[in-house]
């Protein structure tokens, strides 16, 4: 039923769209067919040809990119302005799995997403849906952050952090402090950890702070149970609006999402708790069924260019090419220095560890906080 509804909705919408869109897709002359299988900008015959092919398609479909997430609002605007390509941003608040669902349901229509930005587990479970592509700056990206063929490439990442309004609560140094009476009804987690990757990493962080490891998330669940029993855990999904209005004075979330709030609320501070450093990178991939294959590849080129990487950095995220850009002196140094300080070895759970922890969470989370 969902499929039918979504498809009829898509059909209705495309029917209203400008006729030139569908015309371009059907006349797969020259660049159109090549673009689907192109694995680098050379396959187009250079950047200019890629830009031209992308402009001919005219549109780029992106999905699940919230404007206030890692600066995506500005990135979309800048890309759109620079190349004169319309960016159709669907379901900005959707989760990673929704992106894959949408790609399946809209397959073959020109409303299907062209590119994905996915959390680790979803990304690695669906690699057969991606078109391999190596951006021009592919070699700058450290090996552990990319598939050797460019099927997926990490794009930006960060550390789990505690963001808090220093006007409303005392300074936070460690997670244990959040259990105190000053934080009654004040601590929120960005989403349900059985559903959202960011919240999941938040529980991993709590686990590591309490003697757990990437193999053992149980202490993290216990921590949130204690938080809940103390009346401190807020079962509210934090957003920019709840932070600004003061409803969620403490938010456990990625540092780049928390850092973005400081611009709007100067008293908002971000800490990566010492001894509980959890890192996570997102995964960028091109839909192998992309209705706008050239635009999708141009988007990737843009994201991994110095300009795109610095835009992520401006949103508080750590771009994957950061080290190479520091060496080359092309990074926005003031923004880079402003990132929250991190002490300790970061923990990056592997896919197997994530699966094991997810199974434990699925069985125990609702019991702990429901």
């Amino acid at each position: 039923m969902v499929t039918l509804a979504a498809m009829s909705a898509a059909a209705a919408l495309t029917a209203c769209g400008p006729p030139s869109d569908s015309g371009d897709d059907n006349s797969s002359s020259g660049g159109g067919t090549d673009a689907k299988t192109a694995t680098s900008v050379d396959d187009f015959g250079g950047m200019d040809a890629l830009v031209k092919a992308a402009q001919k398609e005219g549109t780029l479909n992106v999905i699940a990119l919230p404007p206030d997430w890692a600066n995506y609002g500005a990135i979309i605007d800048a890309f759109s302005k620079k190349y004169g390509i319309k960016v159709q941003s669907d379901q900005p608040d959707a989760a990673s799995q929704d992106e894959i669902n949408a790609a399946d349901q809209l397959k073959g229509t020109d409303r299907a997403p062209d590119v994905f930005d996915l959390g680790q587990s979803v990304a690695l479970a669906n690699t057969d849906k991606y078109a391999p592509y190596k951006v021009a700056t592919f070699d700058d990206i450290p090996d552990q952050f990319k598939d050797p063929d460019g099927t997926w490439v990490n794009d930006y990442g960060g550390y789990m952090s505690v963001g808090y309004d220093s006007d409303k609560v005392p300074d936070v140094a460690a997670l244990d402090a959040l259990l105190g009476p000053d934080f009654k009804g004040k601590v929120a987690l960005n989403g349900d950890p059985t559903q959202a990757g960011a919240a999941f990493s938040g529980v991993v962080m709590a686990s590591i702070a309490n003697g757990g490891s990437a193999d053992d998330i149980a202490p993290g669940v216990d921590y949130f149970k204690k938080l809940k029993d103390a009346g401190n855990f807020l079962p509210v999904d934090p957003t920019a609006a709840t932070i600004e209005s003061g409803q969620t004075p403490v938010v456990i979330d990625w540092d780049y999402l928390n850092a973005a709030e400081t611009a709007k609320l100067p008293s908002w501070k971000v800490v990566v708790p010492e001894g509980a450093v959890v890192a996570g990178y997102y995964f960028q991939a091109i839909n192998n069924d992309a209705p706008h294959p050239a635009a999708a590849r141009l988007w990737e080129e843009y994201l991994y260019s110095d300009e795109g990487q610095n835009l992520w950095l401006a949103g508080g995220a750590r771009p994957v090419r950061a080290d190479a850009m520091v060496a080359a002196g092309t990074i926005d140094q003031s923004k880079y220095d402003a990132l929250p300080t991190v002490t300790g070895t970061p923990v990056i759970p592997t896919n197997e560890q994530t699966e094991k922890m997810a199974a434990y969470l699925a069985a125990n989370w609702a019991k702990a906080v429901g």
């Binding site: 009654k184 059985t194 079962p235």
Partner: protein, 298 residues
Amino acid sequence: MDAIAAASTTAPRARPRRTSVAPWLGLLPFLLYVTIFLVWPTLSVVSGAFRSEDGGFTLERVRALTDETALRALRQSLYLSFSSAALGAVLGALLAYLIVTAPPNSLMRRTVTAVCGVLAQFGGVTLAFAWLATLGFNGLLTNLFADVLGTSGTGSTWLYELPGLILVYTYFQIPLMVIVFMPALEGLRPQWREAAVNLGASTFQYWIKVALPLLRPAFLGSALLLFANAFAAYATAAALISQGSFITPLLIRTSLTSEVVLGQKGLGFALALQMVVVVAIVMTAYALMLRRTARWLR
């Protein structure tokens, strides 16, 4: 005259055939709609619940319903539906009685009936946000209570948990009860009361021996409808609850959209089948009750 005569001579033969086809033609759009949006999804849920990943028959998905998480969600769902249905039925029946005893054309009666018609359909995201703005953190009443009574402005999270859901569901259950229960109350003929009084019954005896037994099937039937209504509600809970997915509809969402626990589609099918079964049982009971009620309301 001639035309009528001509028509009347041909009519007896033509009419029976036309009446046998025309209603079916008229029903066609409805049947089509029901097939696409009710029959087909139900069949796909049933078949999906028994199909394994590679397409063969399996009981594995249905067996997952006995996992503690699924059982817990079912228990909480039943508890939520039962509580909100019981509250809604009792309060709604009282309100319906007050309305029925008012003069048929009074402003109060017309207003309350109209308002109930609107509020019974007032669910989902709008309702959830209305409650959040009133009783949530920084809600109107929360802040007022904090100012006047000195209660904590932030400390209480009950609205975001099961008690909150019961309260919010009751908000649309009461008007629904008024709407479905009022015809039964209106069916209580004054003559029955007069007859009872003539035979020497007190008001109390009339209610216990005549009115309540007459109303019982209608009351229970309406309560069952309320139960199914709450059991199947999704949007209100989805907008209000962001942690725990502790009722079945929310657990289905998690199984379909989670980016952490993957490959749960099978559980989603099984949970949906479970809901179909519960609602089918409740609605069968409702239909039986309705048949008993109908005897008195003719």
